[in-house]
């Protein structure tokens, strides 16, 4: 009898333990956090942010708020990201990082003037990460239309490895190698094709010169030989190619300038992404 009762009790414990192991409350605080952390490390940031928001502990836990802010930053929701980082109190370990991340979010939001005010109000020389913040502060002048600071002052925050490339970006921004579309048009109006040669399209320029020249000669030659019909056809063709050559030169200058702007912005983005926007890399997943 006793053995039977003992077996019953034992079985009861085993089955209860087994049940607890298999029964999972998917929506308990602990499990939501575990799942959110998994999503964060799986780079499924939108879902991770949503899961973090579901946590009741969300309002108090600075790590969760910080990771939530990072999640929103990664998915491009910069305003929500800034709101999250702003919630981190000054007693938190993440406080200084959150300030830097807010600067990054303002930069990515293209709110350059807000970003600069934020920098001036929150970073001093004694402050941690003030070097990184200062770099981003000055770098923002390269992407905005605002007046560039003095070159010597501009280059101070950057180290010797960065100095050369930042200096070339500065020079490029200060004096971009643009071509004047008006000058290209005028040049081609005087000598067909010369506007295209000015914008660097040498073969196009020579071709324009030859085609316009040949049709003009044919028109002249036919008028001279009293072949009026043919002469007018060639005159029309010469005028057509001449007009096209002027228009094409203006367009070539505009295309050249667009290409220069694109390459410059692309270079800035690549550089900044390689530098991770001058913010530290966090390792929450290992």
């Amino acid at each position: 009898m006793k053995i039977q009762v003992f077996l019953c009790v034992l079985l009861s414990f085993v089955s209860t333990a087994f049940t607890q192991e298999k029964q999972i409350d998917f929506n308990s605080e602990k499990n939501i956090k575990k799942f959110a952390d998994y999503l964060f490390c799986d780079k499924d940031y939108l879902r991770a942010a949503e899961e973090y928001q579901r946590l009741n502990a969300y309002k108090e836990n600075d790590t969760i708020i910080f990771k939530s802010g990072l999640s929103y930053l990664f998915i491009g929701d910069y305003s929500t990201s800034i709101d999250n980082f702003a919630k981190i109190s000054n007693s938190s370990l993440f406080y200084k990082n959150s300030k830097l991340e807010q600067m990054k979010a303002h930069y990515l939001k293209k709110d350059y003037s807000v970003m600069r005010s934020f920098y001036k109000n929150n970073f001093t020389n004694e402050y941690d990460y003030s070097d990184q913040a200062e770099k981003l502060f000055y770098f923002s002048y390269l992407v905005s239309e605002d007046q560039l600071p003095q070159k010597e002052k501009f280059l101070i925050p950057f180290n010797s490895n960065e100095n050369e490339i930042i200096s070339s970006f500065y020079d490029w921004k200060n004096d971009p190698p643009y071509k004047s579309s008006a000058l290209a048009g005028i040049l081609s109006a005087i000598i067909p094709g010369s506007g295209k040669i000015y914008t660097g399209d040498i073969s196009d320029g020579i071709f324009s010169f030859l085609v316009t020249g040949v049709f003009t000669f044919l028109a002249y030659d036919n008028f001279h030989a009293d072949h009026d019909t043919r002469a007018w056809i060639f005159t029309g063709l010469a005028a057509f190619f001449y007009g096209g050559n002027v228009y094409g030169s203006v367009a070539a200058a505009q295309i050249h300038n667009a290409k220069i702007t694109f390459e410059f912005n692309d270079g800035l983005n690549v550089f900044l992404q390689n530098k991770n926007y001058f913010v530290p890399v966090y390792d929450f997943c290992n």
Partner: protein, 281 residues
């Protein structure tokens, strides 16, 4: 007393499966929740709940079903690369050949949709040569036919659907499209002989006549210039005008044929998308 004890033991033994059943329920409930979200076309939330299920399913019981359903959700959301990733994960966790076939066909269908038909053909070839799927040859051919349609190869599509059934609805459609399509090579060839003929063949009469007119005009002026010993004039007119319009006529004929064929193909695809009732990629 002995009777009472026996009843207790029996009751307890009966109680164990009930507990186990309850244990299964929380995962099953989660899976059903995700399935309901999928049915309601709430694919984003369905994926979240399936990922949650997979994350906590340490026993791996739902690895196949959940990954398959995530793949379906991503497919419905047009995220084909993600869909393929999850179909592959489901395929890794299959339990029988039917599930393998299902996942492989799922990947084929995505490849058809995103027009990476070379990958679709590669998988279909492997399915065709796999002895486990000999009895599914008609299904394999069905999707091969669709892959040909999306590769714009209506001739092979017609032949492939004919292997399933000579009166197959899609075979008839492919045959009709084949009959309507213009030959790009022929359009170009006749334009070599008579400028503008290719355009007229594709139904672009005005363009054909204009092309013929321009070629005759510049050809006449070229010949006239050479006949009058104005060699420079002749070379210039021939080079910059006659040959330019002649080349343009050839390109024009080719482009018209390609454009018309595209319209015919698109009309067929429109029919397949909105009116065809059978299984679609």
């Amino acid at each position: 007393m002995i009777f009472v004890t026996k009843i207790r033991v029996i009751s307890f033994i009966l109680f164990i499966p009930v507990l186990l059943l309850q244990a299964q329920d929380s995962f099953e409930e989660q899976f059903q929740l995700a399935k309901n979200l999928y049915v309601k076309e709430n694919y984003y939330d369905a994926i979240t709940e399936l990922k949650r299920l997979l994350f906590f399913d340490n026993g791996g019981k739902y690895l196949f079903e959940a990954n398959d359903l995530i793949g379906q959700c991503y497919k419905q959301g047009g995220k084909f690369t993600d869909a393929i990733r999850y179909f592959i994960l489901a395929e890794i966790n299959t339990k029988n050949p039917d599930q393998v076939y299902k996942e492989k066909v799922g990947i084929v269908r995505i490849n058809i949709l995103r027009k990476t038909t070379e990958s679709a053909f590669r998988i279909l070839n492997s399915l065709e040569t796999d002895s486990r799927f000999k009895d599914k040859i008609d299904i394999t051919n069905y999707w091969r036919g669709w892959a040909y349609i999306f590769s714009d190869d209506w001739v092979n599509a017609e032949a492939t659907f004919a292997k399933i059934d000579s009166a197959h609805q899609l075979q008839k459609l492919a045959e009709k499209v084949n009959n309507e399509l213009y030959s790009v090579g022929f359009a170009k060839a006749i334009s070599y002989i008579i400028p503008g003929a290719g355009q007229i063949y594709t139904g672009e009469y005005l363009s054909g006549i204009m092309s013929l007119g321009w070629n005759v005009l510049w050809g006449y002026l070229t010949v006239q210039a050479f006949a009058a010993d104005r060699i420079f004039d002749g070379i210039m007119i021939a080079n910059f005008l006659f040959l330019r319009f002649y080349r343009g006529n050839l390109q024009n004929a080719e482009n018209f044929a390609i454009e018309k064929n595209l319209k015919i193909s698109n009309n067929a695809l429109h029919y397949l998308q909105y009116e065809y009732k059978g299984l679609k990629p």
